[in-house]
């Protein structure tokens, strides 16, 4: 008997299930219904409060957040960030329509490269799929315009997040993603990112920038913001 058959038949006999596995299949039924469980109340807010909560929670876990009115403000913000941290004027951007279409040359003197992350990237700029106010979490979804490696290889990660995509809770983001990917499907990688990389493995001392970015800077695009 194959390992698969042996394991499954052992489970079936212990659980008292027949091997007609589609007959009254409790698992498939549960998956199909994919009920929401208890969702903490803290994220159930109107949009403005949701954005505020997101900012508060992301800041609490050492991310920095700036609110801007539109994507056109991104180049200046990136430039200001690099100056503030005395970083070389060189960035790697995700090949995302909203970033590629920006007039980087006109507004800044940055060297702008685009593509997936490489080992020597210092600063990356990428676009979030969404945010979760509950914990100040960014949701990044992999795809041709959003390579995952940009989220992890650079020491500084700048993420552009549209305020309209900030949900109260994780479940709301799953619903959006499920509608987009189709039932039972996900992009290759979905990353929830909550603050910059950290470790406490040496004497329980908290240090930022373990393997991933040491700094996480979030630009919230909110046209309603004045």
């Amino acid at each position: 008997m194959s390992a698969r058959e042996e394991i499954l038949s052992k489970l079936r006999s212990k659980l008292g299930h027949s091997n007609a596995s589609n007959d009254g299949n409790a698992a498939l039924k549960h998956i199909q219904e994919h009920h929401k469980n208890l969702i903490p109340r803290r994220g159930s807010l109107d949009k403005a409060q949701r954005v505020d909560l997101f900012v508060q929670e992301a800041t609490r876990v050492n991310a920095t957040v700036v609110r801007i009115q539109g994507f056109e403000d991104v180049p200046n913000q990136v430039s200001a960030y690099l100056r503030e941290h005395q970083l070389p004027a060189k960035i790697k951007i995700a090949p995302h329509d909203n970033l590629k279409s920006l007039d980087w040359q006109q507004k800044t003197s940055l060297m702008v490269d685009e593509g997936r992350g490489q080992g020597d990237d210092g600063v990356s700029v990428s676009v979030a799929y969404g945010g979760v106010a509950e914990t100040g979490t960014l949701v990044m979804s992999s795809g041709p315009q959003t390579p995952t490696s940009l989220n992890f290889l650079p020491l500084d990660h700048i993420v552009v997040l549209e305020a309209d995509n900030i949900a109260g809770d994780y479940e709301a983001v799953w619903e959006r993603l499920r509608a987009q990917s189709g039932p039972g499907k996900l992009p290759r990688t979905v990353n929830w990112i909550t603050g910059p990389s950290r470790t406490a493995d040496i004497e329980q001392t908290l240090l930022l920038g373990a393997h991933g970015p040491q700094r996480l800077h979030i630009l919230i695009v909110d046209p309603s913001e004045s």
């Binding site: 394991i7 299949n25 998956i31 041709p144 995952t148 996900l186 373990a210 393997h211």
Partner: protein
Amino acid sequence: MQPTSPNFKQNAREAIADDPLQAALAKLAVGFPMRRLEAAQRLPEFEDLRDQARDIKNHVLENLDQYLEAYEKKVTDSGGHVHWCRDAKEARETILDICRKAGAKTVTKSKSMISEEIAVNAYLEENGIEPVETDLGEYIIQLRKEPPSHIIAPAIHLSKEQVADTFRNAHIDLAADRDLDEPRSLLEEARAKLREKFLGADVGLTGANMLIAETGTNVLVTNEGNADLTNNLPRVHVVIASIEKIVPTLEDASTILRVLARSATGQDISVYTTFCTGPRRPEDLDGPEEYHVVLLDNGRSEMIGSEFHEMLRCIRCGACLNHCPIYKSVGGHAYGWVYSGPMGAVLIPNLIGMEEAQHLPNASTLCGKCESVCPMRIPLPKMLRKWRERQYKAEMGSATARWALKSWAWLAKRPALYRRVMNAGVALLGQFGGQGRFKSLPLASGWTSKRDLAAPAGDTFISQHHKGARGDQSGALMRKKVH
């Protein structure tokens, strides 16, 4: 690894005498519980979420066969491969086979307790493949050839000086006089060393905090980001996970994630929670070309329906270790195998056998703190007691102790005789207990080696009470003068 669990008592004695270890444990004993409590208090729904998390896993375990099949189908649909393995040996061989087919020389690894359980590192090395642990703590203990001493903080037993020595011995290409005094410099050295490994690895081997049946997804939870570089950069991503890691849906995974980090480190959520589904898609710019899941039984199916069934709800958060007074006294290595603390004391005998691990379920006061903090509400003390029952049935342990217990129980079942014997015993002890206590006493050295033993303070209560005594404010009746 060869378990040292049979030497638990000796291990424990050494651990208690190990000053750096004790300093680390003292820090852990305060920090983790305090942060967990704060996180729990920040979320009013925390206790209800624990109930739901428990119910989700109970539902999965009741239908595990169906969920495994549903999960497997989704992995396959998304272009991945599932390899079913009965035991550690099959899992090691399967992983080696995947690595060989990929022509791998270097395998980066993110922390996985299952990979510790199957001892895959040693096996890959024997077969000419270099496994590199990338979680900072795991990397340190890999260099030191030690097992983890904590499931989420594997190098918690070490001081920064010990880590510095380890790095000086391992990174011989670097200047010998470099400054490694602070955790920051140690981290930066490890980051640079491991960055080379991440970029050069052929295969990335990760564990899985959960496997989601709805989508065929594995969930990875880290704070460092090492699991992400491990699964994203190499050409092949291999997931090693045991069969009970299944959860039904994205919603169910979210519920469990809400209690996981809060219980583990006291974070609301870990920095990186990653959901990997299959290999990279044709248009993707990065991600692995191959995706394999090594699905391991290794004793789990045997636990289904047994008195240890509920242990399969465990999500490896480490809260039971962080709150256990035994763990906090002796640390993880004393337990003698890859797991430790209350969850280890229940799980290890299931995996390496009750004989080898016989001390572990006994080395507990059953104080119940572990159960009170377990996010999955696993009745750990009850299961420790179940192991004791199995041991008692198998007549394990010291014959003297069994005889003493048996004699006492024999007496306790015969109230009239019990009363006569106890009255006589109390009178006898009273004869010698004039100072109110004993510094040492024959047959009670286990007690008196560490503490004084109070002497009986008079005739038994029941005999006094039945003679009409009421006790009085002077205390005179409480204790007969014996001289």
